[in-house]
């Protein structure tokens, strides 16, 4: 197959359009195609470079193909968006592109979930809770969380798109990047350390100064944590919180 534009770098405006569209990747998320239509939406500006433009047969076939079922972590979907763009513009065979889409979806989902939802997000939350516990103002807490979290978020999306465009269908090896493989372990350790400091500090600030109950609260919380840890897969903590709180509110209204 003839390479159409991959030998020439994509225009900056096209890359920027793809990057910004990726922030809306899940705009039409649904239980049938998951974020497949979002991938089509993000790739679309680059597909206009195919022969015939938006009215060409190549454009229509590629857009239909790229809007089918796909599942990936939204921040790491850029890896797929970049690689698939490169493949489409390189004129790679449609069957090969579809096989690649199927193969890439699983790893991009699990790696992204571990790195972002299960590591980076809780870590940033705990840092913000720590800033609150240390007496930080509303602006300091909000600013710390948003700047810290989105530094990682924006960079990860940009890295994904860049590496995908650069490597095309050979992008799978990029998932072996040490940040993606070892990052969750280091971030997890850092989150645990920060959590040990931040949670009791925040509890102290909520309860208020001069209260001698903080020791009792921490002890009660430890017992609760042990109970929830035992129930791990059988109960959702937030639902239990809702139930206990509803009972407490009823009790306080009736006494």
């Amino acid at each position: 197959m003839t390479s159409l534009v991959a030998t020439v770098d994509l225009p900056l405006r096209v890359k920027l359009a793809m990057y910004f569209r990726m922030f809306a990747l899940q705009g039409s998320w649904n239980y049938e195609t998951l974020n497949g239509t979002g991938v089509g939406f993000s790739i679309e500006p680059a597909l206009r470079l195919l022969p015939g433009g938006v009215n060409g047969e190549a454009y229509r076939a590629a857009l239909a193909r790229e809007s089918r079922y796909f599942n990936a972590h939204p921040y790491l979907a850029g890896v797929a968006v970049g690689a698939l763009t490169r493949a489409e513009l390189d004129g790679v065979d449609a069957t090969r592109i579809e096989r690649f889409r199927t193969a890439l979806a699983g790893p991009l989902g699990s790696v992204g979930d571990r790195l972002v939802w299960a590591s980076w997000l809780p870590f940033c939350s705990l840092v913000a809770i720590g800033v609150f516990g240390a007496g930080g103002s509303a602006l300091a807490v909000v600013g710390t969380f948003l700047l810290l979290y989105n530094a990682g978020h924006f960079l990860l999306r940009a890295w994904g798109l860049r590496i995908g465009l650069l490597r095309g269908l050979s992008v799978a090896s990029a998932l072996g990047n040490p940040v993606l493989r070892q990052g969750p372990v280091y971030i997890g350790c850092a989150a645990a350390l920060v959590g040990g400091i931040a949670l009791p500090l925040a509890l102290q600030r909520i309860v208020g100064p001069g209260r001698a109950v903080i020791g009792g609260i921490i002890a009660a919380a430890f017992v609760g944590i042990l109970l929830l840890a035992v129930l791990r897969e059988r109960a959702e903590g937030w639902r239990i919180a809702l139930g206990v709180l509803a009972v407490f509110v009823l009790y306080s209204l009736l006494t």
């Binding site: 649904n30 939350s125 997890g188 509110v249």
Partner: protein
């Protein structure tokens, strides 16, 4: 709270509800941000921040993995923050009552997201032929309508929750029976329990993680000594 007073809060709820999944997922929808922003709207950012921190600890339990169903914290954070920031300082029942309202909103709003995703799937089914033909218009229409509906969903959830819970919370706070310290302690124990258990759930497989947490506790204890 009148409809006119609730409208700016609903707009904030709509924008932050949109952030949860559709756009831009910058986590401005996390309760610690959403509740503080709502508190600032009411003129009491510290009040919004306080309930935001409590909600954030509870929200750590429901991270948005894959296609799992979870509570929607953006609109719920706005509702909780706006309600709590509007209460007179020092009222013992304010924090538990507002927290309960926020958790109920999160639950209902999570369900509304499921309904929305089904609606989008319905639209997808109706435009499948055009999408399979590579129609740009069909794709853009599906995508942009999905985002618009999500914006509308967040706004509607917020305004309905505010109109129901604002008078209800005021009534609960007025007849609250438990004393202030006990009320705060119960809320704090609930938040710490759920937050701590959530951290264990997420990080228990990481080697030596418990030692890092204990080291953090030792640092915290060390910080208490000069006080």
């Amino acid at each position: 709270m009148s409809l006119l007073e609730a409208l700016p809060i609903a707009l904030l709820g709509a924008l932050l509800g949109l952030d949860v999944v559709s756009f831009p997922q910058a986590m401005i929808s996390r309760p610690i941000i959403a509740a503080t922003a709502a508190g600032a709207f009411i003129g009491n950012p510290p009040g919004g921040l306080l309930i935001g921190v409590v909600l954030e600890m509870i929200a750590l339990d429901t991270l948005p993995f894959g296609a799992s169903r979870y509570p929607e914290w953006g609109s719920a954070g706005v509702v909780g923050g706006a309600l709590f920031a509007d209460q007179t300082a020092g009222m013992p029942g304010a924090l538990p009552a507002c927290l309960l309202a926020a958790l109920l909103t999160a639950s209902i709003s999570g369900w509304s997201m499921v309904v929305l995703r089904r609606m989008i799937a319905g639209r997808l089914a109706r435009t499948r032929d055009r999408l399979e033909a590579g129609s740009r218009d069909a794709l853009l229409s599906l995508h942009l309508s999905g985002m618009s509906l999500d914006l509308l969903r967040g706004g509607l959830v917020t305004i309905i929750a505010m109109l129901i819970f604002a008078p209800l919370v005021k009534a609960i706070v007025a007849v609250w029976g438990s004393e202030s310290a006990a009320s705060h302690a119960v809320v704090v124990v609930i938040a710490a329990t759920v937050g701590g258990a959530a951290l264990w759930k997420v990080f228990h497989s990481v080697r030596h993680v418990l030692w890092f947490f204990l080291a953090g506790l030792v640092v915290w204890a060390g910080l208490q000594l000069p006080r």
